[in-house]
C-alpha cells in the first residue's frame, strides 16, 4: 500500500493548457494553445522544451525570457507544479489554463531562471537543506559524486521512480519509522533512520514547506474562492516539524499542522476524505477572529487529519525530502 501511494505520487501529472500571451503573438492566425502533462513533482521551467515547439513559429524576433502566469498572476518557478496547482486552484481546474510569456520577464516579482540548470541547483539546494534538517549536516549530499547527483536529478526530471529509489539510499536520509508503512511489503527500501535504536522516544525533525493562502472573503464553495492577485496573500513557512514519538500515541497530521499554525487550529476543523471543504456552518465564533483553515492539500488530495503524520511523510514527500503542504485559510477580518 505504501508503495502504491508513492507510485501515485510520482506518476501524478496535471494537464495544462498553455496559451501564448497575445503580446507575444507575431503570426497570423494566433497559435492554438498547447496541451502538456506536467508532473506534479516537476517544475514549470522543465516544460519549456515541450511547449516551445508549439509556439516557436509565432514568436517575435529576439531573445526569449520565458515565464508563466495564471490569470495574470506570475508563477514562481521554484515551487513544484503540483503545489502551485493545489494552492492557486481552489476548485481544481482540469485542464489548468496557464499563459506563457516569452518576453517581458517581471524581474520585480520573479527571480531569474536560466533554464534547467537553475531548477537543478534549486533542487540540490533543497536537498541539502532537508538533509541538514534531518541529519544535522549535509555532508552526505556534498560527498555524493557528480554523476550520482546528475543521475538523481535526471530520475526526478524524468519521473523515474526506480532509478530514484536506487540512488536515494546513498543520501542516507533518515526516515521516520512508521509501523503503518511497514504493513505493506517494505519494497520502497526506506532505510531505517539513524534514530536511536535503544530509545523509541526519538525526536525527528521533518522538513516541511507550508504555503498558506489567506482569502479575505468567506466562501462556502471552493468555486467561489476569488482569484489570487498578489503573492502577498501567500505566506510561506519553511519550518521543520518536530516529530514526537510517543508510546501509544500516534502523531497525526492535525498535530503537525497545529505545531506549525497554532493560531489557526484553535477551532478544530474536521475534514472528510472527500474534497468537500469544511462546512463553515459548523464554525461559530472564534473563527472570525482567529482565521479558519478551510483546506489542507498535500499532493492534490485532502485527507482526514487523523491520518498518521508518519505515513504522510513517508509517502507524500517530494523527491527533495520536503513535504509541501498547501493550506487555504480565511483571513481574520480585522
Amino acid at each position: 500500500m505504501a508503495k502504491e501511494a508513492v507510485k501515485y505520487v510520482w506518476e501524478g501529472a496535471i494537464p495544462l493548457q498553455i496559451h501564448l500571451h497575445k503580446s507575444d503573438v507575431a503570426s497570423h492566425p494566433s497559435p492554438p494553445p498547447a496541451l502538456v502533462l506536467a508532473p506534479r513533482i516537476g517544475y514549470l521551467p522543465l516544460l519549456i522544451p515541450l511547449i516551445k515547439p508549439y509556439f516557436k513559429d509565432s514568436l517575435p524576433p529576439g531573445e526569449d525570457s520565458i515565464w508563466f502566469d495564471y490569470k495574470g498572476f506570475p508563477l514562481k518557478w521554484y515551487i513544484p507544479t503540483g503545489v502551485l496547482f493545489d494552492l492557486l486552484c481552489a476548485e481544481p481546474e482540469r485542464p489548468w489554463n496557464l499563459t506563457i510569456h516569452f518576453r517581458g520577464y517581471p524581474s520585480n516579482i520573479l527571480i531569474p531562471c536560466e533554464g534547467e540548470d537553475s531548477v537543478k541547483w534549486n533542487f540540490v539546494n533543497s536537498l541539502k537543506e532537508a538533509q541538514y534538517i534531518i541529519n544535522g549536516n549535509c555532508k552526505n549530499v556534498m560527498n555524493m559524486s557528480q554523476s550520482d547527483q546528475e543521475d538523481l536529478w535526471t530520475s526526478v526530471m524524468n519521473g523515474n521512480l526506480d532509478a530514484y529509489t536506487r540512488l536515494s539510499p546513498k543520501l542516507k536520509m533518515g526516515t521516520v519509522e512508521d509501523e503503518f508503512s511497514s504493513l505493506s511489503s517494505p519494497q520502497s527500501g526506506q532505510v531505517v533512520a539513524e534514530t536511536d535504536v535503544a530509545g523509541q522516544v526519538k525526536t525527528a525533525r521533518i522538513p516541511v514547506r507550508l504555503y498558506v493562502r489567506s482569502i479575505n472573503k468567506d466562501f462556502k464553495n471552493l468555486e467561489d474562492v476569488p482569484e489570487i492577485d498578489t503573492w502577498d496573500d501567500i505566506s510561506y513557512l519553511n519550518r521543520p516539524v518536530e516529530f514526537l514519538r510517543e508510546e501509544g500515541k500516534c502523531f497525526t497530521l492535525r498535530d503537525a499542522i497545529e505545531s506549525l499554525l497554532p493560531e489557526f487550529m484553535g477551532d478544530r476543523a474536521q475534514t472528510s476524505g472527500e474534497e468537500r471543504s469544511m462546512d463553515d456552518t459548523e464554525e461559530e465564533d472564534g473563527s472570525r477572529e482567529t482565521g479558519e483553515i478551510k483546506l489542507v492539500r498535500i499532493q492534490g488530495i485532502e485527507m482526514k487529519l487523523e491520518i498518521p503524520f508518519s505515513w504522510v511523510v513517508n509517502n507524500l514527500m517530494n523527491p527533495e525530502f520536503y513535504l509541501h503542504i498547501s493550506v487555504l485559510v480565511k483571513a481574520p477580518q480585522r
Binding site: Y8, I14, L35, L37, I301, E302, I307
Partner: protein, 509 residues
Amino acid sequence: MSQEEKAMEAIKDALRALRKRHLLEEGAHAPAISALSRPIISQGSEWKEKTEKLETELQQCYKAQSRLSEQLVIEVAESRTSKAILQEKELLINDLQKELTQRREECTQIQEELEEKTKTVDVLIAENQEIRSQLEEMTSRVQKAESENKMLIDRWMLQKMQDAERLNEANDLYEEMLAKLKANGLETLARQQVDGIVRRNEDGTDHFVESTIPSTCGHRIHAHEGGCGSIIFEYNSGTLFTGGQDRAVKMWDTNSGALIKSLYGSLGNILDMAVTHDNKSVIAATSSNNLFVWDVSSGRVRHTLTGHTDKVCAVDVSKFSSRHVVSAAYDRTIKLWDLHKGYCTNTVLFTSNCNAICLSIDGLTVFSGHMDGNLRLWDIQSGKLLSEVAGHSSAVTSVSLSRNGNRILTSGRDNVHNVFDTRTLEICGTLRASGNRLASNWSRSCISPDDDYVAAGSADGTVHVWSLSKGNIVSILKEQTSPILCCSWSGIGKPLASADKNGYVCTWT
C-alpha cells in the same frame, strides 16, 4: 474507533483520494495529450536529428571547404606560374620556329651549294684523272725523250770526239804546213840575222819598265756585285778589265778610277779573263761552260765558245797570234780554240782538274796547274803531255809567266809561291809569308813587269809583295777587308790592282 483504526481508515481514505485524483488528472488527460504531442515530439526529435545531422554535415563541409580553398590557393598559384612558364615557352617556341625556318632555308641553300660543289668536284675529279693520265703519258714520253736525248748526247759526244780527232788531225796537217812556213820564215830571219840585223819579234818586245813597289792605295772601286774573280790589265796600259759575279766585264781607267765600258752578254760568272796582245779582244771564261769573246771597241760578243761541259775556270790567249785561245774547265779538259775559225781545235783530257793555265811565249806549250799540285806542260799541236812537275802539296791556284818567258810563278793552296825556270822546270825560288793564305782555288798572283816582284793576295785582305831577287817581303798592302781573289800588275809598271770577294778593286801605286 480506536486511534489505530482511525488512522488506518484515514490512510485508506488518502489512498482512495490519490486514486481518484489519478483518474481525474493524468489518467484522463495523459493519453490525449500524448496522442496530440506525439507527432510534434516526433517531429521535434526528427528535426533535432536532422539539425544535428545537418550541423555535422555543415562542419564537414566547412572543413572540406577550407581544405579545398587552401588547395585552390595553391593550385591558383601553381596555375599562374604554369601560365607564366607556358607563355615563356610559347615565346621560346616562336623564336625556335623562326630559327628553325631560317636554318631550314640555310640548310636547303647549303644542300644546293653542296650539290653544286659535289658536281664540280666530280667534274674536277674527272678532269684530274684525265690530267693525271695525260701526266703519265707525258712523263713516260719525257722519260722516253730523256733516254733518247741521253742516247743522242752520247752519240753526239762520240761524234764530237770523232770530229775533234779529225779536226786534230786536220789541224796537225795544217800546223805542219804552218810550221814549215814558219821554218821558212825562220830561215829568212836567220838569214837576216846572219845578215847582222838583229831584229826582235815585235810581239816579244817588251818595254822594260822599272816597276815601283806599290805602297799606297790609289783607287778603291766597287767593281762588281758579289765579288770580282778576275782582273787583268791591258797590254802596256793602265786600263783594267774586271770580271765578276754579276756576269759583267768592266773596263776601268786606273788613273781616274772611272768606268770606261761595260761588256755584257756573259751567261755566267766571270772566272778568268785574257786580253789579246793587240788589246782588241777580251776573252772571258765563265761558269756557264762557255767562253765569251768581246770586241772591246764595239763591246759586242764576237764569239761564244761552247764545248766545255763544266765551268771554265782558266783561259789564256797566245801572246803573238791572238788567235789561239786555250781554256781549262772543270770537266778535266783543256781546249784549244781558234778564234778565226771560231771552234775548238784540240781537246786534252787529264785526270785532275786544272785551275790555272798559261801559254808559253812562243805559244806552243801550255802550262797548267792542277788540283793535285802538279804543273804540267802540254804540246798544243799534239795535245800530249810534255812533262809534269810536282810543284805544290795541295792545289795549284795560279800559273803566271814572267815577261821574258823564262820564269813561271805558281801559287798553291799550301800558301807557297814557287818560281820555276821554264826550260829546266827547276824551282828558282820559293816565297812564303805568314799571314799569306790563299783564299780560293783560283787566287791569282802575278809577277811585276820587271820580273822582280811578286804580288799575291791573301784571305785576310792584304796583298803581300815579295822581291824575287832578294826573296823577302818588301810590302804588305792593307786596304781591303775581304779575301783577295786576284792580283794583276800593269804592264807599265804601275799600278798593281787587287780584287776581292766583295767586288772591290784596289789600285796600288
